[in-house]
């Protein structure tokens, strides 16, 4: 070490090169000061107190809607495949009311949608949509708690009052439809490709069957996957406790570690199911029907005997909307049974308008050939018009009491999906 010829080059470099001088120290201090200044402008939450009496709720509605007028246009954000791409219902709306509609399939996921609009709503700015569709779930609860949604004026919703099915008028996640009315509902069940599976699965146990090793697709969504674990154990997800979550997670871990699960899907499970990459999977009811109708595949969807979850996608108006009056008119328009029937014929999800069934049957009687067969199938499908017995088997998502509980739940199930 003392011999200069054998000097470690790193040592030499250290001795000869510039080290942190006083100037640099000032610079660093300046940077950290900037950092501290930024610390002050963290992310602000604005929990709002919910109205406690109906009088308060009524005055909130009046306060919001007073002075708002029809502007002749509405911007509508919805999910992909949630309307006939020719938008016949919107054209009818424009014809009847003179209000033009811009329809965007802007929403892919509740979480990313919330992340996109949250900063705008927090700043009190318009999100450039007057009407949007969000699933009952964590993000919906947050939108309500943060006061981002306009309270609905039910005097502007006569069709909803007249035609909505009773269960859609009193949903646990939004009692009294203060902020939302349903767009459509769907179920999460098991889909399978009959080309590869001879005995149709009837129970959640099929997804744990080692003979389908590597051919089972599950969803990455912690609520969806958690529900399946709980159904397998015979637990009602709606009333589940953290202990149930742990047990369900253990089952799901078993399923993953045995190599049965091929992948945890966000959205795109339908294509691999059609191609045979997976043979059976967790699926949303309408997706399978749309795939079959649009591509001529023969995929099947079953509601297992243990029951299944039903979720609801809801229409709502962000508080900062530029055209709320036009938006609420459009919301009500979808509760015209004719319109609801046309929509259900195409998307094959549960319509909140029971009267649509008779109209679809009448349409079927008028139609011919294949179209007649399809329409009859839709009218009789328990996935579009569930019977009371079907509803008795359906459960809803767990509603979380607070963010801590939600975080606990997410942590338990994300450990499975983000391995």
């Amino acid at each position: 070490m003392n011999d200069p010829r054998n000097q470690d080059p790193a040592f030499l470099r250290g001795m000869t090169q510039r080290r942190l001088g006083r100037r640099d120290a000032f610079r660093l201090a300046g940077l950290s000061a900037a950092g501290l200044a930024l610390a002050a402008c963290g992310v602000q939450g604005k929990r709002v107190t919910k109205p406690t009496s109906s009088a308060q709720a009524q005055s909130a509605v009046q306060q919001y809607w007073s002075g708002k007028a029809k502007n002749g246009h509405v911007d509508f954000a919805n999910w992909p495949y949630y309307m006939d791409p020719k938008h016949p219902q919107l054209k009818q709306f424009t014809q009847q009311t003179g209000i033009t509609v811009t329809y965007d399939e802007a929403i892919q996921e509740n979480a990313s949608w919330f992340a996109k609009i949250q900063p705008l709503l927090a700043a009190g700015q318009s999100i450039n949509y007057d009407l949007m569709v969000v699933t009952n779930g964590i993000q919906f609860t947050e939108l309500v708690e943060l006061g981002y949604l306009a309270p609905l004026d039910h005097s502007k919703l006569p069709n909803f009052a007249a035609n909505a099915g009773p269960r859609y008028k009193n949903e646990a996640y939004d009692p009294g439809n203060v902020y939302s009315i349903p767009w459509t509902s769907g179920m999460t069940g098991i889909a399978y490709n009959p080309k590869y599976i001879d005995t149709p699965p009837t129970s959640y146990a099929a997804l744990w069957d080692p003979k389908y090793k590597g051919k089972v697709g599950m969803m990455a969504d912690s609520q969806e996957i958690g529900n399946f674990g709980m159904f397998l154990l015979g637990v009602d997800p709606e009333k589940s406790t953290p202990a149930d979550w742990e047990k369900a997670a253990a089952k799901l871990k078993e399923q993953r570690d045995a190599g049965i699960v091929r992948k945890y899907y966000d959205q795109g499970y339908v294509d691999p199911l059609g191609k045979g990459d997976i043979w059976l999977c967790q699926a949303w009811s309408g997706d399978i029907f749309q795939k079959n109708i649009s591509e001529g595949t023969d995929l099947k969807f079953v509601i297992p005997e243990e029951g299944a979850t039903i979720w609801t996608d809801n229409m709502m108006i962000p508080k900062t909307a530029a055209n709320p009056v036009d938006a609420i008119m459009l919301m009500d328009f979808f509760y015209d049974p004719q319109i609801a029937a046309g929509l259900a014929e195409y998307i094959n999800y549960v319509t909140p308008v029971p009267a649509a069934q008779a109209i679809i049957k009448a349409d079927a009687a008028k139609a011919k050939g294949d179209e007649q067969k399809t329409l009859e199938e839709v009218a009789d499908s328990p996935l579009v018009f569930p019977s009371e017995a079907d509803y008795a088997k359906l459960r809803t998502y767990r509603t979380f009491k607070n963010t801590d509980e939600q975080k606990q739940y997410e942590n338990i199930f994300q450990a499975i999906t983000t391995s």
Partner: protein, 287 residues
Amino acid sequence: MRTLRARLTPYALVLPGGLWLAIFFVIPTLVMLSLSLQSGNVVDGFAFTWNWHSYVDGITTYHNQIVRSLLYGLSATIIQIVIGFPVAYWIAFKGGSRKSVYLFLVLLPFLVSFVLRTISWQFLLSDNGILLGPLKSLGVLPQDFHILATPYAVIGGLSYNFLPFMILPMYVALERIDPRLLEAAQDLYASKVQTFLRVVLPLSLPGVFAGVLMTFVPASSDYVNSSVLGGTNTTMIGNVIQNQFLVNQDYPVASALSFTLMALLLVGIFVYARALGTEDVLEVAAR
């Protein structure tokens, strides 16, 4: 007056780039740093509390994914060198008058969106798809063979997606080698192998270094390939960060993980630069 103007001109020139860097890099980075030390939730808001736990929690929960990402990134980088170097060499020395055509071909896939390219891999490699289907029916591969949903698919996707970033800098370095140096080596009785090892390779190292920088960093932090081509147990840290930001809205943990990843990558790069010799490499790479 004139001297003042002369002194200000360089600053004026650097202003657009500097502002760009400040607005789109420095400020977001500081905001993220601040976020990583905050605690709270989206409904009640986040407050700055020097909450180091996000780092501790993030690293203890997700160290597997961090290590996996670095390994995937490293594997993809090595594969890219193995595939890319001969391509760059061939274009630089044997490309002749069609060099620009070949370079254009290398860049061609970039005209298609990154995600779409990855999804088309999903289509190509599908279990009974156009590649594996015939091989399976010929009996070359067993029926349950699959590439998708394995680490190989993810590493393959990463290698494919960032390959041009490896080829181009290597090409630039190789193209710049003066042919007279090769002649000189031959005049001094070096064999072809010796010429390559002692002349071409050392001169091309800055290009390899630049290529590694441009591929290892984005490959290690990528989340598209893993989510499109991966399966269980292939989650990369990018997926975790995305999930923490968008699904859990746990901004502190997401920011802490981003910073951890950034720190690891920076340390890795500097160790690598040192190992390669000097800072000269960085300078040459920047040319």
